[in-house]
């Protein structure tokens, strides 16, 4: 399946890009994050991240569909 990833803050720096299209066998966000963390050297464990699919927060068991937009959100620091 194909997914669109957006990266922010230090995940953007680590991935060296703000977005990418990924072809993956991962079917849920947990598996997808493990794959991307290995590829890009992300050091955050999932318990420190939130995840959003298609513009809405979701949980780590979320089943993915083809062409989903997935964002792993590092701890926020606005304000």
């Amino acid at each position: 399946m194909n997914y669109r990833l957006l990266y922010f803050a230090s995940l953007c720096d680590a991935a060296g890009r703000a977005e990418e299209q990924v072809a993956s066998d991962a079917r849920d966000v947990t598996a997808l994050y493990a794959e991307l963390a290995a590829r890009h050297g992300f050091t955050f464990t999932p318990d420190r991240l939130r995840v959003a699919v298609n513009g809405a927060f979701t949980d780590w068991n979320h089943r993915l569909a083809d062409n989903d937009e997935v964002v792993f959100l590092p701890p926020v620091s606005g304000g």
């Binding site: 957006l6 922010f8 803050a9 230090s10 953007c12 720096d13 955050f44 420190r48 939130r50 959003a52 513009g55 809405a56 927060f57 964002v71 959100l73 590092p74 701890p75 926020v76 620091s77 606005g78 304000g79």
Partner: protein, 140 residues
Amino acid sequence: MFAIGEAPIDVVRLHQGLEADGAGAVVCFEGRVRNYNDGRAVNGLSYQAYIELAEAEGRRIVEEARGRFKVERVSCVHRVGDLALGDVAVWAGVSAGHRGAAFDACRYVIDQVKARVPIWKREHYVEGTSEWLHPDSAPK
């Protein structure tokens, strides 16, 4: 009202937006760029947001404040992009019939925005380096 923008925050205009005949109290908070953090000298900040989700989450927070407190108007604006020392990075304002609700709602909005809205700051240090902040726990 919740908004994210690159332009400098127009505090006067936002303040006018809080006006209401029943507003006996107005409380505003300005979060400004400070010249130090965690023992290091800072000379600027850059903010990045996942705009689509940040605006949705910010609007939810404003609605929560409207439901929890007896208020007239609730507004919050957060900047993104490069900011200099003294610039207003975030502004939250509430008008209400009485001061208690105005203080409580304003505090609620800024605390929730800092904890939940997908916005990140990169600190630029006087020594020449910079880094993203990803706090372990709830921000101060």
